[in-house]
Symmetry: C2
Subunit: 110 residues, 2 copies
DNA sequence: AATATTAATCGTAATATTGCAATATAGTTA
DNA sequence: TAACTATATTGCAATATTACGATTAATATT
């Protein structure tokens, strides 16, 4: 196999999984952290921040973009990247839900 | 390749990636949601909740456990599973950081 | 127009993931 | 002890991911 049985799960479950999966690589965590650090949109320069070749970085950026975690606009010769708040809102809500439920739980046995 | 260059990233980046990756599959999101829904530890019965064969579910549970997102204790003939709050705390903090930084940002161009 | 710059895409090799049948392991019960 | 139940492990096939060199596409600059 190798392909997930996405049809068997809810849209919400699949969407959350796509968002989480996009962050499931240290390079993509690093990209997000860099975008946060500069505290503004960044035009180019992401390749120089990472220990990876340009095509590899481009691929990681594409995955983050497809998942809805970053946005990229053309800015002259280069591209201007920044965080897509919508995607982070969705996944943050999931973790908020988890946290809220955990508060109500007793967790007697584990 | 196929193997991530984990050596090139910080421990924190790798740890967050491992946590996110573990949630990067709808079945594993479903498992977490089920553990939340029952609002207590669950002994057995997870296989019946998912549209997957027993060995596949067992494998997903193992991955969640390795990532530190669930705990499993032997309870007689079956195993008692529940959420591992520590793991969720770590990844929740990451998203809290992201959210805090986003509040400070201007986001002029995207 | 020719050249440089920036980023995406293609092609490909190495490795990882997903899913399950078959089997193994371990505790429980008859 | 033998049969039953619950979960883990093994082995394997199909597919996905990771990484990068080579190339392409598009815009700037000279």
């Amino acid at each position: 196999m190798g392909a997930s049985k996405t049809d068997s799960f809810t849209d919400r479950q699949n969407e959350l999984a796509i968002l989480a999966k996009a962050l499931g690589h240290p390079a993509r965590i690093a990209i997000i952290e860099f975008l946060l650090k500069v505290e503004t949109c960044i035009c180019g320069d992401i390749v120089n921040e990472l220990p990876l070749a340009q095509p590899t970085v481009s691929q990681h950026l594409k995955e983050l973009k497809n998942a809805g975690l970053i946005k990229g606009n053309f800015e002259g010769t280069s591209i201007c990247y920044c965080i897509n708040e919508l995607g982070f809102e969705k996944i943050k809500d999931f973790f908020q839900d988890v946290t809220n439920h955990l508060k109500k739980k007793k967790n007697e046995c584990c």
